[in-house]
């Protein structure tokens, strides 16, 4: 458990690794001459929160878009729950969901309508009860008949998270999920997601530029730079291993490519 949103991951790190929910193998994507993702491989295990870190343009969102099936890799393979996304995208995505600050839900539908439409897209069983539960969990009950476009950015983020939880996903992709949320709400949301993951059924891929949050939430982090994984490890021990005072400093080092050879693993 992560009391108060803070992480205590050592017990889970010592368990034998269960079969991965997400398996990414040698993923590559280029836009013209620019390689956005260059041979990235990693796994997300059930009950694991994996942080995907890196400066702007490092390839995080490109990687997430490929996992979400909205961008076709040039090379490589993505498996979600053992299903190759290239072979059966719909089946692979039925046990996946995501929330991202750059993907707000339609502003012309109310909160409840949005959840109903996306619940139908994910073929959620007993949708009415699920919506009620999520409205309550994400403190959206009083906004149920408010159009999503009229919500504050923090409320919209909570709605995106509620939508992301609709189908009780086995794989949850969160791209800066607490970016526009106040510290108190952010802590509640982190705690909620950690609790959801602690049942050992779900894995999370989490990107954030808030290193305090990453250290509190993530079991493991990957640092991306120029489309490659340059560092991987436990966010609590990684800074010390690489001579940085904190995860924040380590991030700055990676962003400035000051690491030896730029490719430490």
């Amino acid at each position: 458990m992560r009391p108060g949103g803070l992480s205590d991951t050592s017990a889970r790190m010592n368990r034998p690794p269960p079969p991965a929910i997400l398996k990414v193998e040698r993923l590559e994507k280029a836009f013209g001459a620019m390689k956005a993702v260059d041979g990235v491989s990693f796994c997300v295990a059930p009950g694991e929160i994996l942080g995907l870190l890196g400066p702007n343009g490092a390839g995080k969102t490109t990687t997430i878009n490929m996992i979400l099936g909205v961008l076709e890799p040039d090379r490589g393979r993505i498996e979600i729950e053992g299903v190759d996304i290239a072979a059966d995208r719909s089946k692979a995505l039925s046990c996946t969901n995501f929330a991202a600050v750059y993907a707000p839900l339609p502003g012309n539908l109310t909160v409840e309508q949005n959840l109903r439409v996306f619940g139908m897209l994910y073929a959620v069983k007993d949708l009415k009860a699920r919506i009620e539960k999520l409205l309550s969990v994400y403190d959206l009950v009083r906004f149920r008949r408010t159009k999503a476009g009229l919500l504050s950015s923090g409320e919209q983020t909570r709605l995106s998270l509620a939508k992301a939880m609709l189908n009780r996903p086995r794989l949850l992709l969160l791209d800066e999920p607490t970016a526009s949320i106040d510290p108190s709400n952010a802590r509640d949301i982190r705690a909620g997601i950690a609790k959801f993951v602690d049942n050992g059924l779900c894995g999370v891929l989490w990107t954030s530029h808030n290193m305090v949050e990453v250290e509190a939430v993530c079991d493991r982090v990957l640092f991306l730079s120029h489309g490659r994984i340059v560092l991987e490890g436990d966010p609590k021990t990684l800074p010390e291993q690489h001579g940085a005072a904190s995860l924040d400093d380590l991030f700055v080092n990676v962003a400035h490519e000051t690491l030896d050879g730029g490719r430490r693993r």
């Binding site: 836009f31 961008l71 719909s90 109903r116 994910y122 073929a123």
Partner: protein, 267 residues
């Protein structure tokens, strides 16, 4: 095909129509205005012409049928535009929704709203100008079907263009029916067109419909063989439009456009 996912696209539009009179209004208003203008025009022509020819079914009927085709196409494209305007493609296509299910949802919305439009047209034309399509009975159905399939094909092709060229292609989409209409012989026989225009007419399914309808109005036997050519062309265009849509979808997935969809991202 998953009914729940197709239903989601339909329900989304139902919510939008329910809470938005400004979306419901255009379903009726364009049709009503066209019927009024052409209804009075034909009434005037009947009063000044000694040709003994009733312009009401020939002109007003033709306008009504052309409006039907235009509504089918525009309703399909409008439904897609709702996702363009709300930048909803990433949410939709990162879900288990299949492209065919999305297209099926767009179609159901377009069919439903166009049929509502058609009923309003028929009631208004009958009430205001005494034009009743019911006198043509079941013979009208194949004509409507060809127009309907053509409208869907145009809508699917236009939606693919929007997906590929971005939101600004809206400017390109709306005039499509207007560009086709001179060649379709909506208000005049194809025979009066110059040769090069007749050649284009020959590949347009609506031209067979309007030629056929003129025969029906003149109480000549409907040219079923010609209408069959129109029907076959309409089906061919529908198949090509669907292939075009799927090809465009694959291309925007390959170049990442769908994840970054906005007016500024299109190259």
């Amino acid at each position: 095909m998953n009914a729940s996912r197709v239903g989601a696209i339909v329900v989304r539009m139902a919510y939008l129509y329910r809470g938005s009179p400004q979306r419901v209004f255009p379903i009726f208003i364009f049709v009503a205005v066209d019927i009024l203008i052409w209804g009075f025009m034909t009434r005037y022509l009947n009063s000044v012409s000694n040709a003994g020819f009733n312009f009401v079914p020939a002109l007003l009927g033709a306008v009504l049928l052309w409006d039907f085709l235009t509504r089918v196409m525009q309703q399909l494209t409008m439904t897609l535009f709702e996702d363009v305007w709300t930048r909803n493609f990433l949410n939709l296509f990162a879900s288990p929704l299949r492209t065919s299910e999305y297209l099926a949802g767009l179609l159901i919305v377009a069919v439903t709203t166009s049929l509502i439009s058609l009923v309003v047209m028929l009631i208004l034309a009958q009430a205001a100008f005494g034009l009743s399509f019911l006198v043509y009975g079941a013979a009208l159905a194949p004509f409507l079907m060809v127009l309907f399939i053509t409208g869907i094909a145009l809508g699917v092709a236009a939606s693919a263009l929007v997906l590929r060229l971005g939101p600004t292609s809206e400017w390109l989409i709306w005039p499509i029916p207007m560009v086709i209409s001179p060649f379709a012989g909506v208000l005049y026989p194809i025979a009066i067109l110059p040769g090069w225009m007749r050649a284009i007419s020959a590949i347009l399914p609506p031209s067979y419909v309007f030629e056929g309808m003129r025969a029906v109005v003149d109480r000549r036997p409907p040219p079923w063989d010609r209408l069959a050519i129109g029907g076959a062309l309409a089906l061919l265009y529908l198949a090509l439009a669907c292939l075009f849509f799927f090809a465009v979808y694959r291309s925007v997935i390959r170049n990442g456009l769908i994840a970054r969809y906005s007016a500024e991202t299109v190259t």
